[in-house]
Symmetry: C2
Subunit: 198 residues, 2 copies
């Protein structure tokens, strides 16, 4: 999970909770541009485990959203490092306005993607090369998974677990977290609530 | 939010996400026994903002669960500091097996409470003075809110927001996080799934 100042807490820690429940097979790393700590949008700070340069091999790269995305879409060294890492990682995911950052790197050119439904105009304005989808809890296209706002990332995380480890493992993981998984990527009440669809 | 080594990520950051969305009125602090950082069950580490001794006034005290609770129920200085802080805080909440820690302090003697449904036997064995409830997404009793496992804490967090700021604000917060709030504290499919009720 990549983080930056002003990242959204649940964007990062919803999916990571689900992967954390597979911890015999999964190692979680918090990736940042620099060593030290990074402060979330809500206040709490997390520790950077590795900088971009220190990552040798990664199976899944995830990018959260949050107020800080407004800075990061203009942070060229960050975007360059993220693009380089994304190109050599077999699964790339974003949560909420994290898709605006992915869009800005060009990684998702010609890729179907979604984003936060309240910040839809801002996020989609970051690139007209992305095939933006208005109504979706999350979108899978090739190696990319992009989710709708905040808590949609947890549902998408379970979909990624389903893809990698099977449906039974995804259900087992959701049950372990006492989480009722929205398994249907097309079930997105928040597109309508925010006036994006009729 | 109190943390300790081996705390469960979503226990802490699910409710804090919801309170974080009220950040014009709410300040979030991560509280620990000592300064420095604390490693979650899943791996990521968070920064301690204040030690117990440094807290002057607190409106809400929250305690997460996680594998680390097995150590903390035997950590007497931690339990003593938590009890002292809990006694002078108007709202006290736990998520998942965090209720086992509250139980061990004695704060919840004669209080109705619930806990994680897979770790129910272990958690409830920490005190026979608590009025344990098998089937509940969360339980409110006086100043105490205790939730069921992991993601139930997010539903309870919204219930606490409802209590403090009203129903409209809770719905607005859930919508901002694109979260479908389980508003009914009695809707707990995981009690049955784990064989606690027929």
């Amino acid at each position: 999970m990549v983080v930056f100042d002003g990242f959204e807490l649940l964007d990062a820690f919803g999916p990571l909770e689900m992967f954390g429940l597979l911890k015999d097979t999964v190692e979680i790393l918090i990736i940042g541009q620099h060593h030290g700590t990074v402060k979330s949008n809500a206040g709490p700070s997390v520790v950077i485990d590795r900088t971009f340069e220190e990552i040798e091999k990664l199976d899944i790269l995830m990018v959260p959203g949050g107020g800080g995305t407004r800075q990061e879409v203009n942070n060229q060294p960050f975007l360059d490092a993220l693009k380089k890492l994304g190109e050599r990682t077999p699964h790339v995911a974003s949560i909420c306005t994290g898709s605006a950052i992915l869009a800005k790197t060009g990684l998702t050119d010609d890729v179907k993607a979604t984003t936060n439904k309240r910040a839809y105009q801002w996020a989609t304005s970051q690139s007209d090369q992305v095939l933006w989808i208005k109504e979706a809890r999350w979108v899978e296209d090739g190696k990319f998974f992009t989710s709708s706002g905040v808590s949609a990332g947890t549902d998408m995380g379970l979909a990624l677990i389903e893809k990698l480890f099977g449906h039974d493992e995804a259900i087992k993981t959701a049950n372990a977290a006492e989480y009722i998984w929205n398994e249907n990527p097309h079930d997105d009440p928040f597109a309508k609530l925010n006036g994006l669809v009729d």
